[in-house]
């Protein structure tokens, strides 16, 4: 006898999902609204997407965001891989200190992190702009990237690397030829995660950005304060699509090439 899910279970799932996704669904729906009024449905239209692509300020913000995301995710992933190697290979005592240092940024409130980064840049005399946001995002996402790569490295058979050295590879080459391909899915997932985190960050960017480097979340936030217009729904929908793709891709990459046995 097969028992289906009870009515209670179905209700819980539906309500739970509604709680999580109703706002997003409404936003996506209204991005296709023909009316200028955000709350009144006047038929299907893609006019706000068209408007978005004529809005130079908005396009600039998207371009800045993508560049910040790609560069900061790359920096965070490279440093994250190195940190993960150091964490998995170091002696127990130094590992605790190192891990504490890396993971602290996971729990430091973003406002504090943003403020301290701002103070650092001011003290160092760096003009705020594109590179300060990028570096700050790398700082923010480094810990996440490290966690993802470290989890994979921990289960990685070290004798593979020893075998490569035994067969004539200097240690760095053994890492590049054998370990890196082995942990590649985790590295890709770490990059995706870092990119996604950078994409939707508002707090750190607000602290560390300067003229000419307005990111999309900053642009959206300032526009909303003047009043919601459907164009914002359109750009938000695109952003959601991008983030969702990134997260799903990161998940799929991690699932793939796992030993199936």
């Amino acid at each position: 006898m097969k028992r289906g899910p009870s009515a209670f279970n179905i209700a819980s799932v539906v309500l739970g999902l509604a709680f999580l996704y109703a706002p997003i669904v409404i936003l996506v729906l209204y991005s296709f609204n023909a009316s200028r009024l955000v709350t009144v449905w006047a038929g299907f239209s893609t006019r706000w997407y068209a408007a978005l692509f004529r809005d130079q300020q908005m396009l600039d913000a998207i371009w800045v965001t993508l560049r910040v995301g790609v560069i900061s995710a790359t920096i965070a992933t490279v440093l994250g891989v190195l940190a993960a190697v150091a964490l998995t290979r170091s002696r127990a005592r130094s590992r605790v200190v190192l891990a504490g240092g890396v993971y602290a940024t996971l729990v430091i409130p973003e406002v504090i992190l943003g403020l301290s980064l701002l103070l650092l840049f001011v003290a160092a005399g760096l003009p705020r702009g594109f590179w300060t946001v990028t570096l700050s995002h790398a700082t923010l996402t480094l810990a996440y990237a490290t966690v993802v790569v470290q989890a994979r490295l921990q289960s990685f058979d070290r004798s593979l690397e020893e075998a490569a050295q035994d067969l004539g590879c200097p240690p760095w080459k053994a890492f590049a030829l054998v370990t890196l391909p082995g942990i590649a899915p985790a590295v890709a997932a770490a990059w995706m995660l870092a990119f996604t985190l950078s994409l939707d960050d508002l707090v750190i960017a607000s602290f560390t950005s300067g003229p000419g480097a307005t990111t999309l979340p900053m642009r959206l936030y300032s526009q909303v304060r003047l009043g919601v217009n459907p164009e914002i729904n359109a750009v938000s929908t695109l952003l959601i699509g991008l983030v969702a793709t990134g997260v799903i891709a990161a998940y799929l990459i991690q699932q793939r090439r796992r030993p199936s046995a």
């Binding site: 058979d157 004798s159 075998a163 050295q165 035994d166 067969l167 004539g168 590879c169 082995g182 199936s260």
Partner: protein, 378 residues
């Protein structure tokens, strides 16, 4: 050397270790290594000769793997020298040593095909592409994996993977091949086949092999010489027959094969014969021992004969059969000669049927020749 009885009944033609002018290929000289408080290897000196199949045998944690890893370059000795062909290689990193290792886990690169795995070491040596391809084919043929070059390691069986690991380590033609518990993951039948294949391969290629194992049967089958290790030290080095028939001490006697030990005071030691006063009565063995001091006489179960009638002479013990194990080729008997004191005897089942079968509770008399027993002082 005529006149001296041969130990083990095997005429050895290959024995460079007996030649004082022969120079060893590998020489460990007073090598020590500690991990924290644990002394993994303690002042080990050892020579391995060209074309030799050398086994390091011991229980897990005896330091045999550490010793091998020092030769591969993955561990640095705290003291002593590791010499290869007369040169101290302590400062060479693993990738600069002409020494290759077959890992216990095989450590095949999962993202590369079988052929790419085998070609890995050749590529690092800068062997030309065409030559490398030819060598890969040659290796595949050598380990009987023709046609499987394009497979991935996870598409192979355990035995096939083991052979790929072997081919990969052999392809760059190492001066010495290290095998770390190479057959631990194989089942018994496959293990025996592989042992003979390994010996064949070693003979055909004329290479030097060093194997680390905790399996005494494996070491006995494959090796020219065995070094028995205990707690970081080498207890005995010798041909399998020497280690088995003339063990250096009780540890070696008990670790390799089954053994019956008689402990007692040495009453006399003259004319190449020792008389020991044990709790089981006087026991005699060929050899020499310190008169008046404690010693042991060891005798292997297969050298103890089981009789149904009382026997005349020395080295006879009366008892009852407590238990037996029928193994097909052998039957082993556990005979109680005094309350709580048992002796093991083994009989080859040379015939299918026996007129007078033995069973539990039967009274039997055990006997063995003094020449079949050995005197141990440690």
């Amino acid at each position: 050397m005529s006149g001296r009885p041969n130990i083990g009944g095997i005429r050895e033609t290959f024995a460079p270790w007996e030649d004082p002018t022969a120079r060893p290929l590998v020489r460990f000289e007073g090598v020590s290594k500690a991990f924290g408080d644990t002394q993994a290897v303690n002042d080990v000196s050892l020579s391995i000769y060209e074309r030799e199949f050398f086994a390091l045998l011991g229980p897990s944690g005896c330091g045999k793997t550490t010793l091998m890893r020092m030769l591969a370059g993955f561990e640095q000795p705290d003291a002593g020298q590791v010499m290869l062909a007369g040169r101290d290689i302590a400062a060479d990193p693993p990738h600069r040593r002409p020494v290759h290792m077959m890992f216990q886990s095989y450590a095949l690169f999962p993202h590369l095909s079988v052929a790419q795995n085998i070609a890995f070491g050749l590529k690092r040596q800068g062997v030309a592409r065409a030559e490398a391809a030819a060598r890969v084919e040659e290796m595949l043929a050598l380990v009987r994996l023709e046609g499987l070059g394009r497979r991935r390691p996870d598409q192979l069986s355990g035995g096939q993977r083991q052979r790929v690991a072997l081919a990969r380590a052999l392809a760059p033609r190492p001066r010495i091949l290290l095998l770390d518990e190479p057959m631990a993951a194989l089942d018994k039948k496959l293990r025996e086949e592989t042992q003979f294949e390994l010996m064949n391969l070693q003979q055909t290629l004329g290479l030097t092999f060093m194997i680390v194992t905790h399996d005494q049967d494996e070491a006995m089958v494959v090796a020219d010489r065995i070094a028995v290790m205990r707690a970081g030290e080498i207890v005995q080095v010798g041909r399998p027959a020497e280690v088995y028939e003339a063990p250096a001490d009780r540890y070696v006697a008990g670790f390799i094969g089954d053994v019956n030990l008689f402990e007692g005071r040495v009453a006399t030691s003259e004319g190449g014969r020792v008389r020991l006063l044990s709790q089981d009565g006087p026991i005699e063995a060929e050899g020499a021992g310190p008169v008046g001091e404690t010693a042991w006489i060891a005798v292997r179960p297969e050298k103890v004969a089981v009789h149904s009638e009382p026997q005349p002479g020395d080295n006879v013990l009366a008892g009852t059969i407590l238990d037996y194990g029928y193994l097909g080729d052998w039957t082993t008997y556990l005979v109680e000669v005094a309350p709580g004191r048992t002796i093991r005897a083994a009989r080859a089942n040379a015939t299918r049927t026996v007129v007078r079968p033995l069973g539990c509770g039967d009274a039997v008399w055990l006997s063995f020749e003094p020449a079949s027993a050995v005197v141990l002082t440690r």
